[in-house]
C-alpha cells in the first residue's frame, strides 16, 4: 500500500467508541516515510479521533497502532519525542509571546530547533514579540505549526490546519506544508477541503461515519470511478436529470448543489445532444461548462452526499 518501503504509521482495525457513537469503526492504513497522507471527510467522520489515537492522546478500544515502529499504547514517551503535533482549534497560553511559547515548548524536548529558526521557517519574524492572543487566525495556525516543529520531528500531524482561514492565508499555509515534505518529513493531515487534499496529499483516505471508504492517490481515486469528464449547468426543471441520462455519451446524470452534472465518455456528442434537446424545448442551459471529475464527485458517488462544511 505504501509507496516507499518503510511505513512510519501502521494502523490495523482501529476502533474507538464513545458510548453508542462509533467514532472510529475499524480503520486500517499505512503511511510511508516522506509521504503526505490526508484524511478527508466531513465533520464527525472520525478524523480527529483517529489522529489523536496516533498522537497518544486517546487510548484505542481495539486494533493495533504503530507509530515510527513503536506501539502507541506501550511506548508513548519515545514516540512523543519524535513527532510533531498540531491539534484542531487550540489556543495556547494567550498572554505569552510567540518567542516565549516556542522557548517553552522547546524545553519539553530533548532535541530542539533554535527558536529564531522556527520563527523564520513559519515567517512570523515581525510578530515574534506579539502575544499569541493578538495574532490573526492565519498567524496562530503558523505558530501552532512552528510549535509542532520545535523538536525537528520526523512525523508531523496536522489536524485541519487551514479550517476557518481565508483563501490567501490557506494558500500560504499550503506552501508551508509542502515545504515540510521537501525537508523529508512525513506529514499526516486531516481536512474537509477537497482542494486541500488534492493540492497537498500524495495519498488520501476518504472517511465517513468512522470508516475509510476509499484510499489512494487523488488521480487514482478519481480515475477508478470516473473514466469520463463532466458537463454541468444550472439545473432546470425542463431538463430533468433522468431524461438527460439517455443522451449520447452520458454514463450517469446527477444533481449536485443546484447543478445538473452529466458524466460523459464523449463530451462533444453529449453537448451537441444537450443543446439540441434544449433548443427543442426552447430553454437555454445557464452556466454551461465542462470539467474533470473531482474528489467531490468521488465523495458524492461514495456517500450520496456532498462534502461541505
Amino acid at each position: 500500500m505504501t509507496q516507499s518501503g518503510e511505513a512510519v504509521i501502521r494502523v490495523a482495525d482501529l476502533k474507538k467508541y464513545y458510548g453508542d457513537v462509533k467514532a472510529v469503526d475499524g480503520v486500517s492504513f499505512e503511511v510511508g516515510r516522506g509521504e503526505v497522507f490526508g484524511m478527508l471527510g466531513p465533520n464527525g467522520a472520525g478524523k480527529t479521533t483517529t489522529i489523536e489515537v496516533l498522537e497518544g492522546l486517546r487510548p484505542p478500544d481495539s486494533g493495533t497502532v504503530e507509530v515510527l515502529g513503536l506501539d502507541v499504547c506501550k511506548h508513548p514517551q519515545p514516540i512523543k519525542e519524535r513527532i510533531g503535533v498540531q491539534l484542531q482549534s487550540v489556543s495556547l497560553y494567550p498572554r505569552l509571546t510567540v518567542t516565549e511559547l516556542l522557548d517553552l515548548f522547546g524545553s519539553f524536548f530533548k532535541h530542539r530547533v533554535p527558536t529564531k529558526q522556527l520563527i523564520d521557517a513559519v515567517d512570523l519574524g515581525e510578530r515574534a514579540k506579539a502575544r499569541s492572543m493578538n495574532l490573526s487566525g492565519g498567524q496562530q495556525q503558523r505558530l501552532s505549526i512552528a510549535l509542532a516543529l520545535v523538536n525537528d520531528p520526523e512525523l508531523v500531524f496536522l489536524d485541519e490546519p487551514t479550517t476557518g482561514l481565508d483563501p490567501q492565508a490557506r494558500r500560504s499555509l499550503w506552501d508551508l506544508i509542502k515545504g515540510l515534505q521537501a525537508k523529508g518529513k512525513t506529514v499526516m493531515l486531516t481536512t474537509h477541503y477537497m482542494e486541500e487534499a488534492a493540492e497537498l496529499c500524495d495519498r488520501v483516505a476518504i472517511m465517513d461515519h468512522g470508516h475509510i471508504l476509499e484510499m489512494g492517490a487523488v488521480p487514482d481515486l478519481i480515475g477508478r470511478r470516473f473514466k469520463e469528464r463532466a458537463v454541468f449547468f444550472d439545473s432546470n426543471p425542463k431538463l430533468p436529470a433522468d431524461g438527460l441520462a439517455k443522451l449520447g455519451g452520458v454514463t450517469r446524470a446527477a444533481v449536485e448543489d443546484g447543478q445538473t452534472v452529466l458524466y460523459s465518455k464523449d463530451i462533444p456528442d453529449t453537448i451537441g445532444a444537450l443543446l439540441s434537446m434544449a433548443d427543442g424545448l426552447s430553454v437555454e442551459p445557464h452556466n454551461l461548462g465542462i470539467r474533470q471529475a473531482t474528489l467531490e464527485d468521488v465523495f458524492l458517488d461514495l456517500t450520496g452526499r456532498a462534502l461541505r462544511d
Partner: protein, 363 residues
C-alpha cells in the same frame, strides 16, 4: 527541573499579564487590610492609653504617685483593685496596669535603696503600648527618686506580664485576611485550570514528552510563590501601617501559610475536576468562597455567629487556617489547639488531592 521552572515562569507571566487575575490574587486582599485597618484601627488620632491604677498602700506617698501618673498626658487612668484591673486588661479595656503595693510609703521614708517598688503589668505582644507605659513609669520613677530621695535609687520598678485575650481588631484581622487570601488563591486556581483544559492547552502539552505531574507541579509552585508574596505583603502592611506586632512563632506561621495554601489548592483542583466550562468555574468558585469568607469568623470573632451558623463555620477549613494563623502570629485566642488545626487542614489536603487525582480530566 528546568522544564518545571520554565512552566512556572510561563504561569507567572500569564498571571502578571492578566490584570483581573492579578487584582484578585494580590490587590484584593491588600485592599481589605487597608479597609479594615482604617475602620477598626480608627483610634489612630487618639493616642491616649487606658491604664489601670491600683493603689494597695493608700498612703500619702501612693496618692502622690497617683497624682504623678495622672499628670502624664498620654495615659488615662482607671482605678480599681488588682483583680478588677487584671480582668479589665484581659478584656482589652485597659492596656496596662500600674500597681503601688502595700508598704510603698514606708519604703520611701526608709530611704533605703529599692525599698519602694512600682509594679506594672504589660502585654508583651503590644510593644508599642508597652514602650509608652514603660516610658511613663520610668519617668515617674526618676521624678520620685530625684525629688523625694535626692537622686538615690529608692524607688524601683518591677515589670510583670499579663497576656490579654483581646488582641485588638486589626491584629485579629491581619492573620484572618491572610487566611482569606490563601483560601481565594487556592480555590481560584480552579479557574485557570478549567480555562487551560477548555482551550486545549492541557491536551496540547499532553502531546509532548512533558510529564503531567510537572504541569500540575508548576501550577502548585506558582500558587505557593504567590502565597508567600501575599503573606509578606499583608503582614508587612499590617505592621507598617497599623502597628500590628507579629509575636508568635514565625516558622510555625510560615508552615501554616504553606499548608493552608496547599489545602485550598487541593480544593481548587478538586473543583476543576468536576467543572467543565470557565463560566461554570467562575460561578462555582464564588459560591464556594463567599460563605467561607463570611462564616469562618475571619472578620469578627467566631462566637458572635448564631449557633447554627457556627456549626457551618466549624465545618469550613478556612476557620482552622485563620485560627492557626492568629495563634501563631499574634497569640490570638484559640478556637481549637494548633495540632487540631494542623490535622484538619492536612485531612482536607489529602482527601481533596485524592479526589482530584481520581477524577481530574485533561480534556
Amino acid at each position: 527541573m528546568k522544564t518545571l521552572l520554565g512552566l512556572t515562569v510561563a504561569n507567572i507571566k500569564s498571571l502578571t499579564r492578566d490584570r483581573a487575575a492579578l487584582f484578585w490574587t494580590i490587590f484584593f486582599p491588600i485592599m481589605f487590610v487597608f479597609l479594615f485597618g482604617w475602620i477598626f484601627g480608627g483610634s489612630g488620632g487618639d493616642t491616649r492609653i487606658s491604664v489601670g491604677f491600683v493603689d494597695q498602700d493608700a498612703s500619702g506617698a501612693s496618692a502622690g504617685m497617683r497624682q504623678a501618673f495622672s499628670s502624664v498626658q498620654i495615659l488615662t487612668l482607671q482605678y480599681g483593685t488588682l483583680e478588677q484591673e487584671q480582668a479589665a486588661m484581659q478584656h482589652g479595656d485597659v492596656s496596662a496596669i500600674i500597681v503601688i503595693p502595700k508598704d510603698f510609703g514606708a519604703g520611701l521614708t526608709s530611704k533605703q535603696a529599692h525599698a519602694a517598688v512600682i509594679q506594672y503589668y504589660i502585654d508583651p505582644s503590644k510593644t508599642q503600648v508597652d514602650q509608652i507605659v514603660v516610658g511613663a513609669v520610668t519617668q515617674v520613677q526618676n521624678g520620685a527618686n530625684l525629688t523625694i530621695a535626692g537622686g538615690s535609687e529608692v524607688v524601683s520598678i518591677s515589670p510583670q506580664t499579663l497576656t490579654s485575650n483581646n488582641i485588638g481588631a486589626v491584629a485579629y484581622l491581619v492573620p484572618s485576611i491572610l487566611a482569606m487570601a490563601l483560601m481565594q488563591l487556592g480555590v481560584f486556581a480552579a479557574i485557570p485550570l478549567v480555562q487551560q483544559r477548555e482551550k486545549g492547552i492541557l491536551k496540547r502539552i499532553g502531546a509532548t514528552p512533558l510529564s503531567r505531574w510537572k504541569l500540575v507541579g508548576s501550577n502548585v509552585l506558582l500558587r505557593l510563590l504567590v502565597a508567600i508574596v501575599d503573606a509578606v505583603l499583608i503582614i508587612g502592611i499590617g505592621m507598617v501601617f497599623f502597628g500590628v506586632q507579629v509575636v508568635g512563632n514565625v516558622l510555625a506561621a510560615g508552615a501554616f501559610v504553606l499548608l493552608g495554601a496547599g489545602a485550598f489548592l487541593a480544593i481548587g483542583f478538586m473543583l476543576a475536576s468536576f467543572l467543565k466550562t470557565e463560566e461554570q468555574a467562575t460561578g462555582v468558585v464564588q459560591v464556594v468562597q463567599m460563605p467561607m469568607m463570611f462564616l469562618s469568623g475571619i472578620f469578627f470573632q467566631f462566637d458572635f455567629l448564631p449557633g447554627f451558623l457556627q456549626t457551618v463555620g466549624r465545618a469550613m477549613p478556612l476557620t482552622y487556617l485563620a485560627d492557626a494563623l492568629r495563634q501563631t502570629m499574634v497569640n490570638g485566642t484559640q478556637i481549637v489547639p494548633l495540632t487540631t488545626d494542623f490535622a484538619i487542614l492536612a485531612v482536607w489536603l489529602v482527601v481533596c488531592l485524592g479526589i482530584s487525582t481520581r477524577f481530574f480530566r485533561w480534556e
